[in-house]
Symmetry: C2
């Protein structure tokens, strides 16, 4: 058996391996150090009794002959699709365009099989790694050139362009990955910016894959929570979404994607029909138990609880931001995302990472790990229990990083 | 955006659409008919209090700060991997070679990204559709020629060859899909047959993807429940497996794959390392709640309950078999699988399907839906509640099909 040449192209997951190596090294030097992890974007707060009740109902349904269910629709429970349509999309999106998944990352993997290898790929830089890595796996890219992958159009997003990319050099007929609120920068695109993006995609027969996993963190009501708030988006966008960062379902695994019936290929064929074929062929639906948890998340009590949870992590972000501000650092966060993106001009991300780790025992993520345009930046995650966050803030304030 | 040419190749899921159409038609003609579905292989019996307890523990863990977990390892909980290694593989397979999944179908989808499109594919005929459809999606095949896909090596399995294919015409360096106990035929390969298969793969630098999802249905202790009971298999096989048909987790979603460290490409690189990269890149682990259910399935009480459940469906198979035998039909099932494969010599599968549906109001699956070699056969599934199964058996006995 010959090794798949696309696997051969993909770089080893250097970032977290390297972070872990440095973590081990500091613990060897300081065996009693209490490290605080503001690296990974992982939820820490327990789920409520109400949402747990939904999950337990899902289990109890399986215990009697009358309510037991085996295979469900690969597209998900109709009642959950309906609830997402009405509660999250306020009827702008219809039930049949919503496909329940086991999470955004997994759906981005499956989207590779939808679009295949003969596509151009454009991607924000910096970005969540799966857009690029998924494209490499399907064979839509060339090899790694030491900085990034040939054949991917990287779109730098930095303070210089208000974190909104220059689209003029993106070719026609491309898949454009766009994440807002952005991981890692925390930037949220405005309505005007997304209008520019949608108009560009329509004009250039491109498809936007819009990652809205952090939508609930948007507190500013003038900012769009969904690409489908933009006119014309149904004809050029797929939205990938998740319960992970809103309901704390990171380990529970539940998400959805919206593939509007209006989305067509150049020849007029339906993209949604093909997505339905992908989902029914290589997926078997999210867990029925977990989908009942999703239902509980979307009733009035659940939505209120999600709101409280989101504000908790946003307050964490505020606390870290104040500490970083007090050091006079260049911090990017406007209160609509759980990440702080901090610029250390002229410095190397890994040197800054080391400096913070050595002086404060706080683990962060070097911006370079998200793409070349992340060079010189550090991402602070605000996912953590309040006591750790306050401790981290105190360490930062009293440090000389 | 141009439509992906691999999606363009794949045929619409004609089988179940067509079955449904005929079901609707008969209900229009006979509005009061009580149809019995022996078509789909879907579990019907509730899960036990013990296994539900494991699932509920998974939920309860999420309710307190001390036991809450967010993202877990993409490879699954260590304790679950360990338990599969010891309880199912009796230590023949090590924990690190086991990757927990959300089901066999989903892992077969991901395996496409592991091996890519530049492979030869060989597949039993008839077969569970995802092997072929997945291969089409990744681009490893040619187009559909009206009967099957060009570029796939179909290996007919019929009573004439004791359901074990002639391997002599399979090329070297191939991916060989093999399912035992087989869906749809119910045939179980013997140790000698699997030895032939393993020796062939070793000699021809091929990799077997062994689907063992029905392993627990094997009651005859001389028959192998895993490919890894065969010497040399670790160097040439991946085993895909599931809790669906054993614990009734069809809707709960839990499975695993075994990728042994001994499995190498021709150049000596590790297949397991690449699989690990795939799993960490486009998957985020099975639900933590569901994995706790898996743990309950594998303790002594759970294993005993699985055994009882498996025997229940096997007894169903016996009941249907007796009814079919009484009609003098040519029935293939030796008590080690939940499917009955029935030959109607010289007849068209769809005609037989129609005849059974019209005369007994029982839905089956036409063998042709699993591949050209299924022509003339009908699959009866034995998944059903006992009262339905008995009713179906009575209808069959008194029919003139």
């Amino acid at each position: 058996m010959i090794r798949n040449k696309n696997i051969d192209k993909i770089q080893s997951s250097y970032l977290f391996v390297e972070i872990n190596k440095r973590k081990v090294a500091i613990l060897e030097k300081n065996p009693n150090a209490t490290l605080i992890n503001l690296g990974i974007g992982n939820t820490t707060e327990p789920i409520s009794q109400h949402i747990a009740g939904g999950l337990k109902l899902g289990v109890e349904n399986l215990q009697s002959l009358e309510t037991y269910t085996g295979y469900g629709s690969e597209q998900g429970l109709d009642i959950l699709r309906e609830k997402i349509a009405t509660k999250i999309y306020k009827g702008v999106i219809e039930k049949d365009d919503i496909f329940i998944s086991d999470g955004a990352k997994c759906d981005i993997g499956r989207l590779q099989l939808l679009f295949g290898r003969d596509v151009k790929v454009a991607c924000q830089d910096p970005a969540y790694p799966v857009y690029v890595d998924g494209s490499v796996l399907i064979g839509a890219t060339g090899g790694y050139n030491g900085v990034n992958y040939n054949g991917i159009h990287y779109m730098p997003c930095s303070p210089d362009n208000d974190f909104f990319p220059d689209l003029s050099s993106v070719g026609a007929g491309a898949i454009i990955y766009f994440c807002s609120p952005n991981n890692p920068t925390g930037a949220v695109a405005t309505k005007e910016q997304l209008k520019t993006l949608v108009d560009f995609a329509l004009k250039n027969k491109s498809i936007i894959i819009f990652d809205a996993a952090y939508y609930a963190y948007i507190q500013d009501n003038t900012l769009p929570r969904s690409i489908f708030e933009i006119e014309g988006a149904k004809k050029c966008a797929i939205e990938v979404n998740s319960f992970s960062k809103t309901a704390g379902f990171t380990g529970v695994r539940l998400g959805w994607s919206v593939v509007p019936k209006e989305l067509k290929y150049d020849n007029g064929d339906s993209v949604r029909d093909d997505w339905n074929r992908i989902v029914t062929t290589i997926f078997n639906g999210a867990s029925n138990i977990v989908q009942y948890g999703g239902l509980a998340c979307l009733d009035s009590v659940g939505l209120e609880e999600i709101d409280v949870l989101v504000r908790y992590y946003l307050e964490n972000a505020n606390i870290i931001k104040s500490a970083l501000d007090s050091l006079g650092l260049e911090v990017y966060n406007h209160g609509n995302a759980p990440y702080l993106w901090v610029y250390f001009k002229g410095e190397d991300s890994w040197d800054v990472f080391n400096n913070i780790l050595n002086k404060t025992h706080i683990i962060t993520t070097p911006g370079i790990g998200f793409g070349p345009a992340g060079s010189g930046f550090i991402r602070f995650s605000s996912f953590g229990h309040r006591s750790s966050i306050e401790q981290a803030a105190n360490r930062l304030k009293n440090s000389e990083i």
